[in-house]
Symmetry: C2
Subunit: 417 residues, 2 copies
């Protein structure tokens, strides 16, 4: 087991473990935000015929070669082709077919003129301007050519992709199963949310915050409750989590001290420790271990530290397990809107929101950056990286920030709020 590793090393060590997950078919309406388990290729051309983009008349460009206001061309109308119906007749020289938006263009016609750009003339029409061959015709496969890649395996399905799959006739979608992630809180001081808060106790907020974060990245939380500060109780709870889920996340019992039992409890059940403690602060109290080929990630009992470690380590791991092709946290450059007054001995992450001001990416840090509560994580999605040994940082300084996938991603233009 390695100790006091860098954040990069911790991520690397975790990524050496590959947990793969099975696949399933879900119906189209249940596919939103699921992860595609196969490439989606267009099985056919869209449209499957030359199509009119608006209501008008389909005709032959050659007939209009000399058309002008002074020399309008008169054409007879063959038929009317509504959307959803096939033309019955060809368009021969001197003819036009009335055609509605989305309707197939009859054979013989090679351009469409808008309804408003023609005049009725008895049973026929008068056209006063030229038209090029192919003008105003949506050709076969113009929207989607057969065989085109619509979306690759590993894509998170969004509303537009659902619409696209519907247009391709897919009633079911092959997706990866959602990872089941068990959550265990440990600590004599932890009581359930609805329990009376007697002296010295603290409510089990970690379980709920982490469950919410897991739901936000498409995983399914499995609730293991609260284990007392006792290695056998903890060990038994971890074993049941490993049995019922793909991975387990615990909180509490990972700091240096007498009652920090996670290491001992995991040793007793034969789990293999991977690393303990990361050189960041807060969020450095993390123990990673494995058993049955499953990840056991033990976070701090302090809510902000746990959430931070979740974003930095658990979220990429879970997203990768879930089959996402983009699973690492995105990294962007941002200018810190306000400065940071205090120096940072350790590498640390401040929480904040992204704003775009005058075309520049700006980070608006949350007011309270304390470790005890989740305040600074509400309404934010950025983790701004402050390097180890930084002095006070003036406003406007550019830093790197991670964009968290389980955060609250709403851009503000800096002026709203």
């Amino acid at each position: 087991m390695k100790t006091m590793v860098s954040l990069e090393e911790a991520s690397r060590l975790m990524s050496e473990m590959r947990q793969e997950i099975g696949t399933e078919n879900v119906c189209l309406m249940d596919a939103l935000y699921r992860v595609l388990a196969q490439d989606i290729l267009a099985g056919e051309n869209v449209p499957p015929f030359n199509r009119s983009p608006f209501d008008g008349y389909a005709m032959r460009a050659a007939d209009l070669a000399l058309a002008s206001r002074e020399r309008p061309v008169t054409l007879s109308v063959t038929e009317e082709v509504p959307a959803g119906h096939m033309p019955r007749l060809e368009v021969s020289p001197g003819q036009a077919a009335k055609i509605m938006t989305g309707a197939p263009v009859p054979a013989g016609a090679d351009c469409v003129v808008k309804f408003e750009e023609t005049r009725e003339d008895g049973d026929g029409i008068i056209v006063s301007a030229q038209c090029k061959s192919g003008q105003n015709i949506i050709p076969i496969g113009e929207d989607i050519a057969k065989g085109t890649m619509i979306a690759p395996k590993g894509t998170v399905i969004d509303p537009a992709l659902i619409g696209m799959m519907a247009s391709l006739g897919m009633e079911d979608v092959p997706v990866y199963r959602q990872p089941n992630v068990a959550i265990l809180s440990t600590g004599d001081e932890v009581v359930p949310v609805g329990a009376e808060l007697t002296q010295g106790k603290t409510r089990n907020s970690n379980t709920y915050a982490l469950a919410g974060a897991l739901l936000a990245i498409g995983a399914k939380p499995v609730f293991l409750g609260i284990a007392r500060d006792e290695t056998e109780a903890i060990g038994a709870a971890v074993e049941s989590g490993l049995r019922d889920a793909d991975m387990i996340i615990t909180t509490g019992g990972v700091s240096v001290g007498d009652y920090d039992l996670m290491q001992e409890a995991l040793q007793k059940i034969g789990a293999r420790a991977i690393f303990w403690r990361i050189r960041i602060k807060p969020g450095g109290a993390v123990l990673a271990a494995r058993k049955y080929g499953k990840m056991i990630l033990c976070l701090s009992g302090s809510p902000a530290a746990a959430m931070l470690s979740f974003h930095l380590l658990a979220s990429p791991y879970v997203c990768r397990m879930a089959g996402r092709s983009r699973w690492q946290n995105e990294e962007i450059d941002v200018a810190l809107k306000s400065g940071i007054n205090k120096p940072s001995f350790h590498k640390r992450f401040v929480r904040g929101r992204l704003a775009v001001e005058d075309g520049r990416s700006v980070m608006i840090t949350a007011e309270k950056q304390g470790n005890g509560v989740l305040d600074s994580f509400i309404g934010t999605a950025l983790l701004g990286m402050i390097p180890e040994g930084s002095g006070p940082i003036p406003p406007g300084t550019r830093i790197k920030a991670y964009v968290t996938r389980a955060g609250n991603f709403e851009i503000g233009n800096g002026q709203l709020k």
Copy 2:
């Protein structure tokens, strides 16, 4: 009824209609992404006692006034206070209490020294450095002071807020009901997704794309199916949508032409038209009407135009109805990464992704900007505004872009993919 209105006028006309929605209580785990229906205030101090931030010893700063390496101070240990337990004794001069992370600080002590910064000495401890009064103590209410606003009414609940509400003992959360939005496709050419695609027909992708988009913004789609191009069938379907839902969105039948039946169908059922046609292209074919105090929004049958109008008009309307305090589309400045070759006679919106390159907000436009399919909406969330009468636009030009709430919001640094 107004016709050919600007986009701003269309938004304004729609916002004159206020549809308010009821509230309900949901349990904490069901609250993710729901909209708060009440301000959440902290009902108590967190922590409710002075707390130790790490494992160590709680003592009196006055005892350490002259402490140094050369002149270490010896203190006797009163007791050990584990997390979750109350101290039994006060700390008097010359004394210290061993204390664990999260445990309450005993009366009399006004600072905490880390375990690692002390040495054992028989039954007592030796401390070699000074400490200020209040140092390393998390005071009562430091994390959350009683009465503080945690999150106001109208906030979309994120994972961190769920955790915060759990720490405040909230098992149930007051939220707004989710709007029910009925979806109706119209058109003789439209067939269900699973049906065989005979000549001239097109699959009902609009219903699914819009349903996905509605789910993405927290609304519940109600499926009305497909109505033929016939005013009574359409009218009856609209009436049933208005009966079963808070609002109805239709697709098809709103362009200029013979078979554009929505206006007539709505007139026949006594709905009052608000506006028809917007000065943007694509997406300008929109009919808005009202009946029973409910919005009837009729979009184009063309998938990309329908999705565009949904983002520009339906989404803000639904988000506002859902109780969100931030319901309008955010507007940001972005630099267009590639140019736009063709001039734009009409005001139009190109689709693309946000990237942050060297601290600047950049828009990467989707390849195909055609009106027929949703391709350009997959994986994107930006609608870049191209003003009416623009010539070709060189790369790097800065434009305004809307950030869509039902789009796919993933920042890319421009180098991943």
